[in-house]
Amino acid sequence: MSKIIVKNLVKIFGDHPEKAIKLLKKGYSKNKILEESNQTVGIYDINFSVNEGEVFVLMGLSGCGKSTLLRCINRLIEPTSGTITIDGEDITTAAPQAVREMRRKKISMVFQGFALFPHRTVLDNVAYGLEIQGITIEERRKKAAQVLETVGLKGWENSMPQQLSGGMQQRVGLARALANNPDILLMDEAFSALDPLIRKSMQDELLSLHNTLNKTIIFVTHDLDEALKIGDHIALMNNGTIVQIGTAEDILTNPADDYVEKFVEDVDRTKVLTAEGVMKSPDPVVFLRDGPRVALRLMREHGISSIFVVTRERKLAGILLAEDALQAVKEHKEDIKGIIISDVPKVGVDTPVIDIIPVIADTKFPVAVTREDDKLAGILVKGSVLAGMVRRGNNID
């Protein structure tokens, strides 16, 4: 279900947006428009939708309009035209009172520079959103303390924000945003000011929080690794417009234009990284001589719906699906030779990741990774390839 739908959104900075729009329709560039009409095009003709509970990433170079777009969604910036529909309601026409209510209950924001209030304790920073809703001091502090605990800052309640490290300050920022229990989190380069190691752990933490809390998150970044790692969908922006929207795989495999391609090129490891670097261990496997019962038990134990079958020398024989194994058990068959699928997608250990991605995209099975002698070395599943790439990427920097 779409939580947020953005249609034809435009933001022009300046006193005469209509001039800029006229020039935009004629196909003038952003710089030319600034020269001619003294209007800055922030974003132009933006269309996308965000599903409930997903992480949607806005990515692009500095000045491409990411922050502008993000701030239109909670109306910190008034869009020039277009609509933003949240839970079926167009918020671009909402009255100030309704906007305030929406910011208090539904949408919270996390800032690049943390934006913690320096004159308030950590606890009272987190409680701020509740405080302005008129919630009593005991209640809001209790709630704030709980949220602080979930971000791992128990014991820091009475510190001042300046006494905390950058990573901890941003946890406070995250806690402050979560304290109102909003449906939607807007995060503007929330981790960009952190050093790489802290940044990675914050990404992991955000993902695990996201799994438990199930918020809809719009996350702005200019970092492709970050986008690939956390984004369910990624929108790539350039010069105020969206040039491509898709999953991480879509963007890596089918860059829409040169701009995207250039962005993606920076992920050099898709070329240098090979299957061996991103595969998972092949366990469990069944041997050809094993019966369908053994196979079924292994699949059940590991919670998987298919299993690779190997010969005694651990050469790849094929894949066995749970449903076929179940059928065989019912029919009292003792042998699995007849029911395995031998035509399985496979790649060599040295295959570059860039070539693996299309293979993965094309199949509904895991992909087998084999050595020269056809022995099964590992398996690849969709998520693990991307995760592996990002993991590697972070180790490199």
Binding site: L76, M109, F111, G113, A115, F117, Y128, G129, I132
Partner: protein, 277 residues
Amino acid sequence: MTKLPIGLWVEFIVEWAQIHLEWLFDFITMIIKLLVSGIETIFLAVPPLVIIVLVFILVWFVANRGLAIGTAIGLFLIQNMQLWEASIETLALILASTALALVMGIPLGILTARSDFAHKLMMPLLDFMQTMPAFVYLIPAVLFFGLGQVPGLFATVIFAMPPTIRLTGLGIRQVPAELVEAADAFGSTEWQKLVRIQVPLALPTIMAGVNQCIMLSLSMVVIAAMIGAGGLGTEVLAGLSRIDIAKGFEGGLAIVIMAVILDRVTQSLTEKRKIKV
């Protein structure tokens, strides 16, 4: 070229106000008299020694021991010079005019921070108010309020208010944009944003404005005495007119003592409130 009758215009406006705004001036007079005499009565009702001890404790509490001791010595000296009553009169005038200047200046400062239009309108006016020689304010003050404490206070307020407006506005404009944005993003009303975020963060700068306001009020003491505001200024003026060096110097010394005490106390209040952003 013919001379523009600027002076005449102002005279006309002042005369018009004298006639048509009499009720307003009467009202202001009443308030000011109440305020000043209230403060005076309270301070004069308490024996000087008790006041000195209380101030000593207060200064120690808000600042430090050294300043507290210095303050006590200074106050004893004033008492010893038999300028206690005059000093209280001056103090009442300063406190009342500072209070009025703050009550008007801080909201005006906030207004200039929030509206670019108000800012553009106010800044030249403040420049004007601050560069115009203080004596000039005495004329309309006397015309509106006659002689005495009230016109003295009126002139003092006009003279002392500009830095409060300026520094309040500056302090609020200096609050980092990201913090203001954060306050908005959580759904603060304008008022909540002002009192919970902007004013607290601007407080060190606002306090610097308060400090300047008090200092400027003190600098008006002698001038205001020319129109009968009384207090230490009268002592100094008397010394001047009779070429009585001793009297003039003692009055001046008492003013300096008060200035130093008030300055250091308000400054240490400011220091304590400073927050690293």
